[in-house]
């Protein structure tokens, strides 16, 4: 296990390094980008940039200086506002984390329940209904879904309050963000549950005289959960990118909105820092879900 963990952590570190490199050098390639000397948006900002990024040095040295600064929590300053980016990220991410955390929790809980129900009622109406709805949910782009929810439930029917900073109502944003991963988990749980229910050890349990409910909860569910764990990494990635859409639609001042705004403003240091920050989160989530996967499934040998 230790060996695997070390290997996996190393891969994650390499990935983060590669992402940082891609991000940095890509940004460097932009003509008129943040590091082009001739296009100074503002002499003060330009001076700050020069000082921070040591623009007189060769590009690869600049990259390592940038990396070192990142490790010290120094993400640079925003081109537009001149604010410290690490401050922006820590402030905005608190909002995004709350939204994303709730969405992830609901997605997992509802997905597992619906998936199990669908598997147990196979080919009967609950199964068909659940599969129909989840197929529908994965077929609607998130911004359209969010907009429709906003239009119907908040603006037309007025069942739910519109999100505003003083009186944040997370119901619709969480639903918009949750439906896709929930549908995915539902389908994953269903197929994995059906797979497990066909296994020989389920027959063994039934032959022992174990009651059906216990066969499902003790013998099937735990095995069926294992593939779902591997989805946690991709789910975090989905929720982080999805929050860009949902936050913008509901005008929630989170990191997602900030990222979209930075793209439209061509605020390159902010794009760069946010990209690296989000990527690191995604890599960590994948790493954790991989490690937990190995822990939960005793069959896997640690080579």
């Amino acid at each position: 296990m230790l060996k695997y963990t070390v290997k996996r952590v190393l891969l994650a570190v390499v990935t983060v390094f590669i992402i940082s490199a891609i991000t940095f050098f890509a940004m460097n390639a932009i003509p008129g980008g943040p590091f082009a000397k001739e296009k100074a948006p503002d002499p003060a900002v330009q001076a700050a940039l020069e000082a921070r990024f040591n623009l007189d040095k060769p590009v690869h040295q600049q990259f390592f200086i940038y990396l070192r600064n990142l490790l010290h929590g120094d993400f640079g300053v925003s081109l537009k506002t001149g604010r410290d980016i690490s401050q922006i990220i820590s402030e905005k991410f608190a909002v995004s984390a709350k939204l994303g955390g709730m969405a992830a929790l609901w997605a997992v809980v509802l997905g597992l329940i619906l998936g199990s129900v669908a598997a147990l009622c196979r080919n009967r109406w609950p199964d068909r209904l659940i599969i129909f709805l989840t197929t529908l949910f994965v077929s609607v782009p998130s911004f359209i879904l969010a907009t429709i929810l906003l239009l119907v439930f908040a603006l037309t029917l007025k069942w739910v309050g519109v999100f505003d900073a003083n009186n944040p109502n997370y119901v619709l944003p969480v639903i918009s963000l949750m439906l896709y991963p929930m549908s995915y988990i539902t389908r994953l749980t269903k197929s994995s549950m059906l797979d497990v229910l066909g296994q020989d050890y389920i027959r063994t349990a039934r032959a022992k005289g174990v009651r059906d409910s216990l066969v499902i909860f003790k013998h099937a569910l735990r095995n069926a959960l294992i593939p779902v764990i591997t989805y946690v990494g991709p789910m975090v990635a989905y929720i982080l990118t999805g929050s860009m859409v949902v936050e913008t639609v509901f005008t929630i001042g989170g990191l997602g909105t900030e990222f979209v705004r930075s793209i439209n403003n061509q605020d390159y240091p902010l794009i760069m820092a946010t990209t690296i920050f989000l990527a690191v989160l995604m890599v960590i989530a994948t790493l954790l879900s991989d490690l937990v996967y190995k822990l939960v499934d005793p069959r896997i040998t640690f080579d």
């Binding site: 020989d200 027959r203 063994t204 039934r206 032959a207 022992k208 005289g209 009651r211 005793p298």
Partner: protein, 337 residues
């Protein structure tokens, strides 16, 4: 004579699939007495396993028992409620499966799974159940039982796992143990060990065994009675000696020709030509007819009935009728002369 422990009467089990109704078991009847060993032989798809699952009532969708009775001590378990059935499974009748590699739940320890069976059917508390589990492991010849209880199935070899399965099946001292091809997935050397173990356990604990296999050699010296199945029907039954030395059904003869024997020396093994019939579309007459070397016209149109060969032997083959008929005709001729 006492009532048999288990009486299967005209059992029919079908699977409804896309292409129609598959009659996996098509009206079979047999009895099993206390402490006896019954062998069921047949090739893949002949309905052996389905018979076993029907007795345990652990058929999975879309399989179901469509007719007949299964009497255990005179009570029809086909009519049992699911709750009664739970007390029946594992307690009165236990089963071990073909593939020990997949028959144990990978995410629970051996101890957990053994205890589960014991706690379900006896009044023992956790500690007593643990002691019983250890005792059972010792009984089936698993070394270091204490350590094994804490291990996961994947840490054990195939033979060990099958021993665990046997321990689990016998933990509640069932009256009948069904062994569904218990050695097929194992190495030849392990096969012999497991069979020996089952025989010795049978002597010690006195349960009846239904031994299901496609390998006649496996059950030769173990069974009191052997049933040969083909296409969901019983084609021949009798004592092991009768079946082996006096086979009276063309299919049994074919089976016997296809197993290697020492006394035949280097003679070539003769396979049975063709493949099993389509169970969704059973032909008229004898199901084996199209693969039979001695097939007669009547075999194609009428189903043969079961005929007593002697007190210990019955077979359903028109050849026997023909033989009787020929003999009688010859006798008559002799009389008239």
């Amino acid at each position: 004579m006492n009532e048999p422990l288990l009486q299967v009467k005209n059992l029919c089990t079908s699977f409804n699939v896309d292409s129609g109704e598959v009659r996996a078991v098509n009206g079979i009847s047999f009895n099993l007495d206390k402490g006896k060993v019954l062998g069921i032989v047949g090739e893949s798809g002949s309905g052996k396993s389905v018979t076993a699952y029907s007795i345990m009532r652990i058929l999975v969708e879309p399989g179901r028992i469509t007719g007949g009775q299964i009497l255990f001590n005179g009570e029809d378990i086909v009519k049992y409620s699911e709750k009664q059935m739970r007390q029946f499974r594992g307690k009165r009748v236990s089963i071990i499966f073909q593939d020990p590699m997949t028959s144990l739940n990978p995410v629970y320890t051996i101890g957990n799974q053994l205890r589960e069976a014991i706690l379900l059917h006896t009044d023992r508390n956790r500690e007593q159940a643990n002691a019983r589990a250890m005792e059972m492991l010792q009984l089936v010849g698993v070394n270091e039982p204490e350590k094994r209880l804490k291990q996961y199935p994947h840490e054990l070899s195939g033979g060990m796992r099958q021993r665990v399965m046997i321990a689990m099946a016998l933990a509640c001292e069932p009256d009948i143990l069904i062994a569904d091809e218990p050695t097929t997935a194992l190495d030849v050397t392990i096969q012999a060990q497991i069979l020996e173990l089952m025989q010795s356990l049978q002597k010690k604990m006195g349960m009846a065994i239904i031994m299901i296999t496609h390998d006649l050699g496996v059950i030769a010296d173990m069974c009191d009675e052997i049933i040969v199945m083909y296409a969901g029907r019983i084609c021949e039954r009798g004592t092991a000696d009768e079946i082996f030395y006096n086979p009276r059904h063309e299919y049994t003869k074919g089976l016997l020709r296809s197993i290697p024997r020492l006394e035949t020396g280097h003679a070539r093994l003769i396979p049975i030509a063709g493949s099993p019939v389509d169970l969704t579309n059973m032909p008229k007459g004898c199901a084996f007819a199209s693969r039979c070397d001695n097939c007669m016209k009547i075999c194609l149109s009428e189903q043969p009935e079961e005929l007593d060969i002697n007190d210990f032997h019955k077979a359903s083959c028109w050849m026997n009728v023909k033989q009787v008929y020929d003999e009688a005709a010859a006798e008559k001729e002799a009389e008239s002369k």
